[in-house]
C-alpha cells in the first residue's frame, strides 16, 4: 500500500477512534500509571567497561585505521 493511501485511510481510522471517545468528560490525564515513580537515580561513580568501545566499533558502519567511526550524512539531512 502506498504511503499516501496509508495516510488517507489512517486519518479515517483516527477519526473513528476519536468519535468513540468524544463524550468522555474526564479532565485528568494519565501518562504513566505507576504512582511510585522513582524520579531520580542514585548518583555514583561512573564505571568504564573495558570491552564497550570494541563492541560499539564492531557494529559501527565503518571504522578507520585509528579507530574513528566513519559516518555518512543521511540524504535527507540538509
Amino acid at each position: 500500500m502506498k504511503r499516501e493511501e496509508i495516510e488517507k485511510r489512517g486519518e479515517e481510522l483516527i477519526k473513528e477512534f476519536s468519535e468513540a471517545i468524544a463524550d468522555v468528560k474526564e479532565e485528568v490525564e494519565t501518562y504513566y500509571v505507576s504512582e511510585l515513580v522513582n524520579v531520580v537515580r542514585i548518583d555514583s561513580e561512573p564505571v568504564q567497561k573495558k570491552d564497550f568501545k570494541d563492541k560499539m566499533l564492531k557494529i559501527a558502519p565503518s571504522v578507520d585505521e585509528e579507530g574513528n567511526i566513519r559516518v555518512e550524512i543521511g540524504k535527507w539531512v540538509g
Binding site: L13, V24, V28, E29, N38, K55, I59, P61, G74
Partner: protein, 454 residues
C-alpha cells in the same frame, strides 16, 4: 530442572536436545530468527561443571530460555524483526537477561515477532510469519509470536516476551500456553526496545503455571537504572502457588460477553468459571461500561509514543531509516503518530486519549473494590488463517480484552482452558496492581484440577 540438579540429565544434554528439536522444527514453525548455539553450549558446560564441583547453581539452572528479538542480549542480533535493525548486534544485556543469566538460564536464541511489536498476529516480521504449532495454518498471535510458538512446540523450556497491549497474552491464548503481563514497573524495561514506553512490560511465558511463576521470580524487581521500576518486596511466587482459592471473588462484567465475537469462546470461559466455583471461588458482578473505549484510546496513545520512540532510527546510527524499509503497519503507526503529535491535533486526539486512559484506570480499580480478580476471554475471536485479509480495525479487534490491563497498569495472566475446533482458548485473569500471586494461585488451581480431570 530437578533432573539437571540431580545429574540425571546434564545441562549439555538438555541444550543439545533443544538445539536438535529447533533444527528439526524451526524450519516449519519459524519461531527463532537467530540461534545462540555456541553461547548456549558454553553456558551449559559451565553449569554442569558447577554441579559436578558441588557449587550452588541458580534457580533456572540448565533451563533453555528464548528471548524476544526486541530485548537486548550481548552479541546477538536485536532486530525487532525489522530490516531497520538487521545489522544491530546487542552491546549489552537487558536487566532481565542479566538476571536470567545470573540464575543459570541458558539463552538459546532470539525469537520471531511482529515488526517492532506493532502487531497482533505474528505475520508482520521481516523474517516471515510464525506458524501456530497448536493450530497449524492459523496465526500464532502477536506480537510475541515466536516466543509463544517456541514454548508451545517444546523447543525451549521458557521464554520472555513483551506486552504493550496484549502481546504476551494474545499469543499465549492462541498457542495454548501460560503467559503473564506483570504490573507496570514490576519488571525492568532496561534493554527493551520501546513500542510505547508508558505501556510496555516484559513478562514470562511457559508451558505451565510453575514455569511462568519461576521466570517472573527471576526477572522481577527494582532496577536503579530506570525511573519506572517499583521499589517493592518481591513475592516468592513459586512457593506460594498451590494455595487454595476458597473465598476468592471473581469479577465478571456483562460487557465481556457482549463484545465476544465468537460465542463459543465465551462458552469455554463460562465452563472455566464453573470449575473455579467448584474450587471455592465466588462470582461477583462488576460493571465496565467504558470497556469499548479502551481500544481507541490505546491506539491513539500507541501511535504517538511509537512515533516518538522511532525517531532514533533515522539511519545515522543503525544504517537504515525506518520509514524506508519498514512494513505497512509500522509505517501506519509512524505516520499517524506524527499526525496526532502536531500541535493542532494534539488536544483533540492525544490528550483526549490520555483522559480516557484515566477513565479506564479508575473504572478498573473501582471493579477491584468488589472483586479480587476480573475474568474474561483473552481474545474476542478465534485466530484467522494465513492469507486472510484483515483491515487494521479488524486486526486491532484482537486486543479488545487485553489493552485495558496496560492502560490501567495492572497485571494479567492467561491459562489454557480448552480448544474450539482444535484451536486453543485462553482464560484471562486480571489482578490488582502487584497482585500477581493471586493470579498464579487461580491459574495453578485451574491447571491442577483440569489435569486431574484429564
Amino acid at each position: 530442572m530437578e533432573q539437571i540438579k540431580s545429574r540425571k540429565l546434564t545441562a549439555i544434554e538438555n541444550t543439545e536436545a533443544a538445539l536438535a528439536r529447533i533444527k528439526n522444527l524451526n524450519p516449519k514453525i519459524n519461531a527463532f530468527i537467530e540461534l545462540n548455539e555456541k553461547g548456549a553450549l558454553d553456558t551449559a558446560k559451565w553449569i554442569d561443571e558447577k554441579i559436578k564441583q558441588g557449587k550452588k547453581v541458580g534457580k533456572l539452572a540448565g533451563l533453555i530460555v528464548a528471548v524476544k528479538s526486541n530485548i537486548n542480549v550481548t552479541g546477538l542480533h536485536i532486530t525487532c524483526a525489522s530490516k531497520t535493525l538487521e545489522d544491530y548486534v546487542g552491546t549489552f544485556d537487558a536487566a532481565v537477561v542479566q538476571r536470567i543469566k545470573s540464575e543459570d538460564g541458558i539463552i538459546i536464541g532470539m525469537t520471531n515477532m511482529d515488526e517492532f511489536a506493532a502487531g497482533s498476529s505474528g505475520e508482520t516480521s521481516a523474517w516471515g510469519p510464525t506458524d501456530n504449532p497448536s493450530a497449524l495454518g492459523h496465526i500464532p498471535g502477536g506480537s510475541s509470536s515466536g516466543s509463544a510458538a517456541a514454548v508451545a512446540v517444546g523447543i525451549c523450556d521458557l521464554a520472555i516476551g513483551s506486552d504493550t497491549g496484549g502481546s504476551i497474552r494474545n499469543p499465549a491464548s492462541h498457542c495454548g500456553i501460560v503467559g503473564l503481563k506483570p504490573t507496570y514497573g514490576l519488571v525492568p524495561r532496561h534493554g527493551l526496545i520501546d513500542l510505547a514506553m508508558s505501556l510496555d512490560q516484559i513478562g514470562p511465558m511457559a508451558r505451565d503455571v510453575y514455569g511462568c511463576a519461576l521466570l517472573l521470580e527471576v526477572i522481577a524487581g527494582y532496577n536503579p537504572r530506570e525511573c519506572t521500576t517499583l521499589k517493592v518486596d518481591l513475592k516468592d511466587f513459586t512457593k506460594k502457588v498451590g494455595a487454595d482459592i476458597k473465598g476468592l471473588k471473581i469479577g465478571i462484567a456483562p460487557q465481556y460477553e457482549e463484545v465476544t465475537v465468537d460465542k463459543k469462546i465465551y462458552q469455554k470461559i463460562e465452563r472455566a468459571i464453573e470449575i473455579l466455583k467448584d474450587l471455592g471461588a465466588r462470582v461477583v458482578q462488576v460493571n465496565l461500561p467504558n470497556l469499548k473505549r479502551a481500544l481507541p484510546a490505546y491506539y491513539l496513545i500507541n501511535y504517538v509514543e511509537f512515533f516518538s520512540a522511532t525517531r532514533r532510527f533515522d539511519g545515522r546510527r543503525y544504517g537504515k531509516r525506518i520509514e524506508d524499509v519498514c512494513g505497512e503497519e509500522v509505517l501506519r503507526r509512524i505516520l499517524l503518530g506524527s499526525y496526532i503529535s502536531q500541535k493542532e491535533y494534539r488536544g483533540k486526539y492525544y490528550h483526549k486519549a490520555i483522559k480516557t486512559r484515566s477513565v479506564i484506570k479508575h473504572e478498573t480499580l473501582e471493579a477491584f473494590k468488589q472483586a479480587d480478580v476480573l475474568i474474561s476471554p483473552t481474545v474476542p475471536k478465534l485466530p484467522h488463517k494465513f492469507g486472510a485479509k484483515l483491515t487494521p480495525f479488524e486486526m486491532y479487534g484482537y486486543d479488545l480484552f487485553t489493552v485495558p490491563t496496560n492502560l490501567s497498569g495492572i497485571c494479567a495472566g492467561v491459562v489454557p482452558v480448552g480448544k474450539i475446533d482444535g484451536i486453543p482458548i485462553g482464560l484471562q485473569i486480571q489482578g490488582k496492581p502487584l497482585d500477581e500471586l493471586t493470579i498464579f494461585k487461580i491459574m495453578e488451581a485451574y491447571e491442577k484440577s483440569t489435569r486431574e480431570l484429564s
